[in-house]
């Protein structure tokens, strides 16, 4: 198409003043892609280990959570594994709440500036509260 390369581009990230709606939108993409790229492989590893028997399951636990005496590699990955699992649980709650926000926006509601900002904040704070509640339920 003639002149297509010279058309004006729509303004991108750099010209906007950051606001809660923008942050939630970016977090929705980060959390969703994190769940897809890290969460789903971990889910498959977990199912594969369960289907392979107690030894494979013990291997998974030692890499991702408990470590193993004398293994520096597993000492490192077990810390990373804990960070990844806490991060994934946060990503799930963030993506869930942000997704529910999308459903509301889909029906055309919640675009008034103040209401929109309030719900964006509720998504961000709510995901942290739910993550904390989840780990309290698991560990306590």
């Amino acid at each position: 198409m003639a002149g297509a390369k010279n058309r004006p581009l729509s303004p991108h990230l750099t010209i906007w003043k950051p606001g809660p709606a923008m942050v939630v939108s970016i977090l929705h993409r980060i959390s969703g892609d994190g769940l897809a790229l890290l969460g789903l492989p971990l889910l498959l590893w977990w199912l594969g280990a369960l289907a392979s028997g107690p030894e494979a399951y013990a291997t998974l636990l030692s890499w991702v959570w408990v470590g193993e005496p004398g293994s520096t590699a597993k000492a490192i990955t077990s810390v990373l594994g804990k960070i990844a699992l806490v991060g994934l649980s946060w990503a799930f709650f963030e993506h869930l709440l942000s997704g529910l926000r999308h459903f509301v926006l889909d029906i055309g509601a919640g675009y008034e500036l103040r209401i929109n900002a309030i719900w964006a904040w509720i998504v961000m704070l709510g995901s942290i509260v739910l993550t904390a509640a989840f780990w309290a339920a698991v560990l306590l």
Binding site: A36, L50, A51, V138
Partner: protein, 127 residues
Amino acid sequence: MGEGTSIGKVRGTGSAHSGSHHWLLQRFTAIANLGLVGWLVVTFALLPSFSFVSVHEWIVRPLPGIAIALLIVSTFWHAKLGLQVLIEDYVHEAANKFACIAALNLAIFGGAGFGLFCIIRLALGGA
């Protein structure tokens, strides 16, 4: 496509007639994920422990098996739709975009197939 008038230049370059289907599927699978992954997270919180015996005893039962199988389908489907948008947004060169989306489809079907095989094996007492 026309060469001359303004309207001639844009005629025929409109809707791809497939976007709304993608959009709707993303919502449908999101609703399924809400229920199924929500159930899995609550189950994780309620499991007595994450030992092999405790998790295995739970997952070989019929209802958890069916729910996990459905969860694999809905989460991998939803992830495919989401990652496809990621690729379309950030990979601009047509051939690279095609290669990425092709690889994504292979990974999604491969991953979901592996997950379903695992849960069927567990449910039928193979492990």
